[in-house]
């Protein structure tokens, strides 16, 4: 008997050890399971406390830095309007990074409206993970106001297999890419910046700056961890695994970007620049955003009307722009940085009403974008068309940063002082219409049949892509390795499937 007990204990201990391993290795998953399992129960529980008083409380997740207290204040001001108009209150959360959003959506956290700007892969990731609530019926019923505002051409870019999942923000829907560089330094060194230029011209400018200011970083990432607004005129066709090399041509052949000449030349150029000391040495690992505000001179950035002001708001430095290529348009541009109703929302109808209001109500839109009058902004002229930061408040440290393009409708809010002219929104729409559309405009890639290949290729890209594009590793040696590993991970299967879907899309389009 004693022997038996000892043996039983041994088995029990072994089981515990195993379970310990399971628990540790799957710490992340454990959360998923618990929430998944408890979901049915939670549904009924949460519906009740979500309503305070007679109002449904909607949770909004926006983009950009903001203090919790300031968010609460803005939310209360917005709720004052929405309680009356549509009978809802809101709770506002801002500044969550991509990983936090991933986790929240995967685990079904109840969010009612969410801007997917920070999710890697944006709309493509959202629909391929089934994170969004279908909107066709809701838009018909509760979103007529929004529908009038939105350009139907852009709306088409938000459909996946014929179903609408997002609404495009009223922002730039074309992109022109190039470099932003600090005005004060350029002026001081007598550098004239052409409106459109080449990499060679950029190189000369960087060399001049490097010689005059050896301690300054001539070229810095656009955001932390080697962020770069690409200056290659590609159509990424969703996830950048299989692209159209030049969106401005008629070619619809899907290719592996690592094998394209433009990509390889770019990497070689960056490697060269890096050897010459023109690139910030820790570009790929830095945890700093807004590097122009400290020791950086230039960065890759997209241009649009009013972009100079936007960079100023984010970095506190005035800039000149030099474009590498003019405006182009592909699916990911109009559907980028926009909003969804997550599948986990308990109140999709109210969320749509709220969303509609964000498109049509200037007060709601202005509160959400610019914050509270007198605290985060003040009128800059008597006609109430221009606004500015209150006296003594730094525009990038007011407690509620104004990131206008990340909200549904910036075009019904006042323009910030310093923009070239108050007619900014007209200019923006002209710019949007001037973009050369990619032949694959409107195509949304469905990666579900090659999901594991996509993951494997993303793992390969994580190793090489950022480092190659910042010239941190030798392209002669590493590009062949990159190509070979992508092949092993199944890039050819992805490209074949993508080409098949693209051909079908083009045939249907006629």
């Amino acid at each position: 008997m004693k022997h038996l007990f000892k043996r039983a204990l041994a088995v029990l201990l072994a089981c515990m050890l195993l379970s310990g391993l399971v628990a540790c290795s799957k710490g992340g998953d454990a959360k998923t399971d618990n929430e998944g399992g408890g979901d049915a129960a939670a549904t009924t529980d949460e519906a009740a406390p979500a309503k305070s008083g007679d109002y449904v409380k909607l949770v909004l997740w926006g983009v950009g830095n903001a203090d919790t207290a300031d968010c609460a204040e803005v939310a209360e001001a917005v709720s004052k309007i929405t309680r009356e108009k549509i009978g809802v209150e809101i709770e506002l959360v801002r500044g969550q990074d991509g990983e936090q959003i991933n986790l929240a959506l995967t685990t079904g956290e109840p969010i009612d409206l969410l801007c997917y700007n920070n999710i890697n892969g944006q709309f493509n990731t959202v629909v391929n993970n089934n994170w969004a609530y279908p909107l066709d019926d809701l838009l018909e019923k509760y979103g007529q106001g929004a529908k009038e505002v939105i350009n139907p051409y852009d709306l088409d870019a938000c459909k996946f297999n014929g179903v609408l999942y997002a609404l495009p923000n009223q922002k730039d829907t074309s992109r022109a890419a190039g470099f932003a560089m600090r005005k004060d330094i350029c002026d001081e060194l007598g550098i004239t910046v052409p409106e459109e230029g080449t990499y060679e011209e950029m190189h000369d400018i960087l060399v001049k700056v490097h010689e005059a200011y050896p301690d300054m970083y001539p070229l810095v990432p656009t955001w932390a961890g080697g962020g770069m607004q690409t200056t290659l005129p590609i159509d990424p066709l969703g996830d950048s695994l299989g692209i159209l090399e030049d969106a401005r041509t008629d070619s619809t052949t899907v290719v592996d970007q690592a094998e394209t000449k433009s990509f390889q030349d770019f990497c070689k150029m960056m490697w060269q620049w890096n050897q010459e000391g023109l690139i910030m040495p820790d570009a790929t690992t830095t945890t700093e955003n807004a590097l122009l505000s400290s020791n950086g001179f230039a960065m890759f950035e997209n241009w649009k009307p009013g972009k100079e002001l936007e960079v100023y708001k984010g970095n506190g430095k005035e800039v000149y722009f030099m474009k590498i290529h003019g405006p182009i348009k592909h699916t990911a541009i109009p559907n980028g940085n926009s909003w969804i109703i997550p599948y986990s929302s308990k109140h999709p109808e109210e969320a749509m009403k709220m969303w509609n209001l964000m498109y049509t109500d200037p007060d709601v839109s202005n509160l959400l974008i610019n914050g509270i009058e007198g605290k985060h902004w003040v009128w800059a002229n008597d006609e109430h068309t221009l606004i500015k930061s209150p006296e003594g408040v730094d525009p990038n440290a007011s407690g509620y940063s104004s990131v206008d393009w990340s909200w549904p409708n910036q075009q019904i809010t006042p323009v910030w002082e310093g923009a070239e002219d108050p007619d900014l929104w007209t200019k923006l729409n002209e710019f949007n219409n001037s973009g050369v559309p990619s032949p694959a405009m409107g195509f949304i890639w469905d990666s579900s049949s090659v999901m594991n290949q996509v993951t494997a290729c993303n793992n390969v890209s994580a190793t090489y892509r950022t480092a190659l594009m910042w010239g941190s590793i030798d392209p002669e040696e590493n590009i062949p390795k990159y190509i070979e590993e992508l092949k092993a991970a199944g890039i050819d299967e992805i490209i074949a499937e993508k080409q098949k879907q693209l051909d079908a899309f083009l045939a249907a389009k006629g």
Binding site: G20, D33, N130, T455, N458
Partner: protein, 305 residues
């Protein structure tokens, strides 16, 4: 059964003390096992765990088809083997040296200094490492370049140095804690044994070799065995935070844990992430059982069960 009741009556306070641990294990380790099934499904957040379609072993198949599985297993195992061997040797050596120090104040000071790194969070360690290794402002590059005139090294893009960097950081950080356990064992060794050794004419070195080390034997075996059980686990902070998640280093810093994390948080492929996690658990389980069996064959008193 009757015996069990008698036992319960006699030892119930002990069982009561055992209870919180069991509850903790159940909540933390048994309930999450429900999630094992995700490894066999194509997880779909909107449909939930039960609604996601079964796809058999496809997640595992892909793990093995690419070099990902091989790289992360190789890294996890090799790093852990090095950590266990060097960690044990260093900890035992330090414990012995410390026990030989007579001055009580000095002893306490050294012990505290050695322990401090263990108490620092890995995130902070990663910034300490960055202060040394940063390409432009790092201590090493600035001294190497300025004092010795050697070409600056781009640490975060050069994989070949990282096995050494990680081993050094792990040793530095874990030494204090590992050492305490050995040090405590040394203090527990019967002092008459040393006196007898002195009577027999043993010198210091012989005392260490014939009294201290045999006294430490079972502690070393138990700790190594426990470490073997965790040989498929890795310190996430060490492998993810310290290399600053730098892409070119992934080949030498990817372990199963970082793969699971990246799969879950960045690639959103929870199926493959879970498959890697399950794989880790199963192989870890087999390793513990095997190691224990071997130890039991050699010295049954030292085995865990």
């Amino acid at each position: 059964m009757k015996k069990f009741v008698v036992k319960m009556q006699r030892y119930w306070p002990l069982y009561l003390m055992f209870l919180p641990g069991v509850v903790y294990l159940f909540i933390n380790s048994y309930i999450p096992m429900f999630g094992i099934q995700i490894a066999f499904r194509q997880y779909n957040a909107a449909k939930g765990v039960f609604g996601s379609p079964w796809i058999g072993l496809k997640n595992f198949e892909f793990l093995i088809r690419t070099k990902d599985a091989w790289v992360m297993v190789r890294n996890t195992l090799l790093y852990n083997i090095v950590f266990i061997i060097l960690g044990t040797v260093a900890a035992v050596a330090t414990a012995i040296i410390l026990s030989e120090i007579r001055n009580k104040k000095a002893k306490q000071t050294y012990q505290t200094i050695i322990l401090i790194p263990f108490l620092i969070s890995m995130v902070i360690v990663s910034y300490l490492a960055f202060a040394f290794l940063s390409t432009s402002n790092g201590f090493i590059n600035n001294t190497l370049v300025k004092v010795f005139g050697i070409k600056a090294i781009d640490w975060y893009n050069t994989p070949k140095h990282w096995p050494f960097i990680l081993v050094i950081i792990n040793l530095w950080k874990g030494l204090g804690y590992n050492m305490i356990l050995y040090y405590a064992t040394i203090l527990g060794i019967d002092s008459t044994l040393y006196e007898a050794a002195v009577v027999d004419g043993a010198n210091r070195w012989q005392k260490v070799l014939h009294v201290t080390l045999p006294g430490l034997k079972s502690t070393i075996i138990i700790l190594t065995l426990m470490a073997l059980g965790g040989i498929f686990r890795s310190d996430f902070g060490l492998f993810y935070q310290v290399p600053q998640n730098s892409g070119p280093l992934i080949n030498v810093t990817q372990t199963i844990d970082t793969y699971v994390y990246r799969g879950l948080m960045q690639n959103n492929n929870i199926g493959m992430s879970s498959a890697a996690g399950l794989y880790q658990s199963v192989v870890g389980f087999v390793l513990v059982i095997t190691a224990n069996t071997i130890v039991r064959k050699i010295d049954s008193d030292s085995s865990l069960f």
